[in-house]
Symmetry: C2
């Protein structure tokens, strides 16, 4: 469902890519040196810091909603079974929701639950006026139709923004704004904006075309007037396409797939991947890496998100933002862009 879990699942078998990816910084930078001045070291875009800002703003908005409208935003999380990654992620969400003062509803169902029972639980949450956002943690056990379950969530409570109506409104220009924007893509945009990255008129390459990251992030970048190319498993000469990009969003779930010499000097890199690769020097025997070889990329890019501590923490922050906006929508209040400045993204 979210990049965090998706990344873990897709990239768990990262193999030796991690160890092999680091070229000398000099080599990666000098290859492209003719095109623009050699960069020394990219600025890190800290999702850890930016997500704290977002959470702080969400907390203030929650207090305001309670003070002025007697409304406490409510987030329901439904988890089926006991997958380690899902449980860990759901716990992080619950903690974050508590910190900003949400009303929390937790529904934990056994691995053996039937689709009918799960649908009935969702229907109950749809009818619960204290719940403004409903999140069903994916993946669901085999035999349950995920799409059917997600369709059961009222669009007014679709906190992940995955419903066809929300995605349609995200892609359509000048129509109704979506009630919620998928969390990880929204987090990528927030990172760009709060790092002062100009998007309009820039060439952006999105690697990956998933429903939860690649496709919506491409729509958002296009709505901000970037020229967007979406690359995927069938793309020919991906390296050449990435080399032309001012902004690269990597969301394919392959450990350190994008190398330093793929990048245009001075570009901005948003690395959505969260993969584990074997690392004997670590206590756990593994370490976490992105879809980009960070060490190489740092020598070429102007700004880059680290892994961990980049896009990861933004996903939950944007989930909180979405919940507040759905609570506001239930009161027929306009959505509040989290940023002080108006911008085209919160469309």
């Amino acid at each position: 469902m979210l990049a965090f879990a998706a990344g873990l699942a897709a990239g768990a078998a990262g193999g030796s890519a991690g160890a092999a990816c680091v070229l000398s910084k000099k080599s990666a930078a000098s290859k492209n040196a003719e095109k623009s001045p050699v960069r020394g070291q990219a600025d890190l875009i800290s999702g850890t810091e930016i997500s704290k800002e977002v959470r702080k703003e969400v907390k203030e908005q929650v207090e305001q909603l309670q003070r002025e409208h007697g409304c406490q935003p409510g987030l329901a999380v439904v988890i089926v079974g006991a997958r380690d990654d899902s449980s860990r992620y759901v716990n992080m969400k619950k903690k974050a929701a508590a910190e900003v003062g949400f009303h929390s509803v937790d529904v934990a169902l056994p691995e053996t639950v039937t689709e009918a029972v799960l649908l009935a639980e969702v229907a109950k949450l749809n009818a619960n006026p204290k719940v403004h956002g409903i999140l069903v943690q994916l993946p669901l056990p085999k035999g349950i139709d995920e799409a059917r379950v997600l369709r059961e969530i009222l669009v007014e409570k679709d906190v992940d923004g995955f419903s066809a109506a929300n995605i349609g409104n995200l892609c359509l220009k000048d129509g109704s704004p979506p009630l919620a924007v998928p969390c990880t893509p929204a987090g990528c945009i927030e990172l760009l904006q709060r790092s002062g990255v100009e998007v309009a008129g820039k060439d952006a390459v999105v690697i990956g075309r998933s429903n939860i990251v690649g496709m919506p992030v491409a729509a958002l970048l296009q709505s901000m007037n970037a020229t967007v190319t979406v690359c995927h498993s069938r793309t020919k000469d991906m390296k050449a396409k990435v080399q032309n990009a001012d902004i690269v969003v990597a969301a394919l779930g392959k450990a350190e797939f994008v190398r330093g010499d793929w990048l245009k000097p001075g570009c901005v890199v948003i690395d959505v991947g969260i993969n584990t690769v074997p690392d004997a020097s670590k206590k756990a025997g593994v370490r976490m890496v992105g879809d980009v070889c960070t060490e190489e990329a740092k020598a070429v890019a102007s700004k880059i998100t680290p892994v961990p501590g980049g896009v990861g923490p933004m996903t939950i922050a944007m989930l909180l933002k979405n919940t507040v906006n759905l609570a506001r929508n239930s009161l027929v209040l306009p959505r509040v862009p989290l940023r002080k400045e108006a911008n085209g993204v919160n469309h």
Copy 2:
């Protein structure tokens, strides 16, 4: 609403571009001669011929639906006021609907109609079991909220496929297929497919990002495994991007904007534009041109749609196809891809 009307509106002031666009064929072709063998003359992709095939197949499907299910597909067209271009287009639609054996409902309202009355008319059509598709001809007079009126159309009768739910399902992978795909984009895809153009793995550039053409055609090409770049008014160095494209879809509404030396030798060009430019040699004083300088492009491309007679006739053909599919959907029958072969597009 449809490219036909949109093209007429956007490109009416084409000015002198038409006269100026034709380079010598030799010059356009030879510039790119190093990259690939010089082409002589592109094959024309005839929308006139292909739309006839589609209509013939639709007619057969209508007969089958009547014979086997006692169901006559019904198309309602709502027109407000008396714009020349709208009236002409609506008349073409009515004629085409009659030819394939549809039940037709025509609602003509005066320019002065109120939004409330128009909404009530749409509600009546929503409730009419003989009507499977509802088309409200755009643009609507000032003072009427077009988006509000379009939202009133039931998604099950949204024959233009413009609703957020249909657009969302078009963009989402592996979900519910849209009940209808916007007509002009669907027509572009049909032209590619019936001309034997391989799309998977190819680089496609879409010029224009409108809700009715550019955005959905990009989503369709991506679903067919092309690598898609969407160019628009804020794109830098558009020529270089087009030069890399194996497939070019021009849908920006500017007369002969794309020149021969913008094209990669052997590429395929789908020209959605319908613009008029002054031409003293014509009785009407104008002639119709596309968004691509056809004469120049013919010397470089391998296949190209002419204007007129390319994409234009496909729009109405796909409207007929959509109506049949909505009628089938009302009977809980699966959609029939018009082509004999199964393919990923009819998703």
